[in-house]
Amino acid sequence: MLKSRIIPVLLLQNGRMVKGRKFSDFRDTGDPVSASKVYNHQDADELVFIDIEASRAGARKNRDVLYRIIEKVSVVCFMPLCVGGGINSVDDVVSLIRIGADKVLINTAALENPDLVHEASLAVGSQSIVVGIDVKKIDGRYVVHTHCGQAPRPELDLASCVRLMEASGAGEILINSIDRDGMMEGYDLELLKQVRVQTDLPVIACGGAGHFRHLYEALIDAKVDAVACASMFHFGDNSPLRAKAFLKNKGVLLKKI
């Protein structure tokens, strides 16, 4: 049986690891390569790196910094690595896979140009294409956002987006709640359930985890395949190991080592 996954998320800015709230107020949380090593020892199942500078203001200036970090991580972490931020061409996808990423996370460019998802999936396989969708609730409606949460896109219907991404060749969907990001008060379960019924693809929940019980709710109540966490592991003394001990006691199927 496939196992539920726990995925630490590392946001990168100018070569450092940061974490914010609701996609702003970023605080420095350390060196990403050291953190990756620690997560590797703490039995994380996968790591997600997002270069948050890359999709803002069309900047591509820090590409080299991102590449160097991924190259360094890939010689110390022998687990699946997913990398995103500002990816907008098949070349970007292929270069990242070549330097050691196993998957790429595409957000803005996937939603604006579903053909990119199709072409990228032909180039490296669907299993390596994760589409990230950032969502914020506005007047009771879930509104898709692009450009690292800065651009509301009310013209994009969430359910249609999810189905279109699957049809275009995405291999997984990472759904991120902007409202819950960094708040540590739990995932937006209603959002996750809405996405879950739209697709058979693996769904990764992101945004809001602050307690191990939040992971359980997303995995069991909202039936997602994986839970991504940042603040919960960055601040305080929680770790994937402790999260897994909690979930195993509650009968969640997790990777055995």
Binding site: M1, L2, K3, R5, N40, D43, D45, S74, V75, V76, F78, M79, P80, I97, R98, I99, G100, D102, G125, S126, Q127, G171, E172, D200, L201, P202, D225, K255, K256, I257
Partner: protein
């Protein structure tokens, strides 16, 4: 083929000397040969044939030197693969590569348990039913059950580790992405002399 870098990183981490070959020049000097790979069967076979790797791999195995196939590098060892169009494989382990026919999501991606069916030096000290990282849509069905070393549970038992009974071992999962247990397999392989038993 595919992400060779991760496999090199893993062996280098274990302190092994690694060389990658884009042509077969010098390949006969290697004590151990590893064929990693992700991608499609027909393209991979065409590349291997055109560049002389099929003959080089056969010569390595004929000399009883250890050989490890990973993922697509396992599948191309079959007699034939059915991905895209029926394509002849290298034929080091008799059997066919077929599309996963389970009522579950394809590709099979993620951590899944590996149940050992036979002991083998390359899998020494790897516990039964620990999880390894899988990414595949096709699987290798060996013709001879004696070649089956392990299965994984994805809708039903799917063969995921094979041997030719000699110096060839092959795995469907990715040891280079499977943390400590994966590294142990790679280390065992690097220390293996290609013979079975004591």
């Amino acid at each position: 083929m595919g992400n060779i870098k991760s496999v090199c990183n893993a062996f280098e981490h274990l302190g092994e000397e690694v060389r990658t070959f884009e042509t077969i020049d010098g390949i006969e000097a290697c004590s151990h040969l590893i064929l990693p790979g992700v991608g499609a069967f027909p393209q991979a076979m065409a590349n291997l044939r055109e560049r002389g790797f099929v003959a080089a791999i056969r010569a390595h195995v004929a000399a009883a030197r250890p050989f490890l196939g990973i993922c697509l590098g396992m599948q191309v060892l079959a007699d034939e693969g059915e991905e895209i169009a029926p394509t002849k494989g290298i034929g080091l382990i008799s059997g066919r590569v077929r599309r996963l026919d389970v009522p579950l999501h394809i590709p099979h991606v993620g951590w899944n348990n590996v149940e050992w069916r036979r002991e083998h030096p390359v899998f020494n000290d790897v516990p039964c039913n620990v999880d390894f990282y899988f990414v595949h849509s096709y699987f290798f069905e060996p013709a001879d059950p004696a070649h089956l070393l392990a299965v994984t549970d994805y809708g039903r038992d799917i063969p995921c580790a094979l041997t030719d009974g000699g110096c060839v071992v092959a795995v469907q999962f990715h040891p280079e992405k499977s943390q400590e247990n994966g590294l142990r397999i790679l280390e065992n392989f690097a220390l293996w002399d290609g013979r079975l038993g004591c």
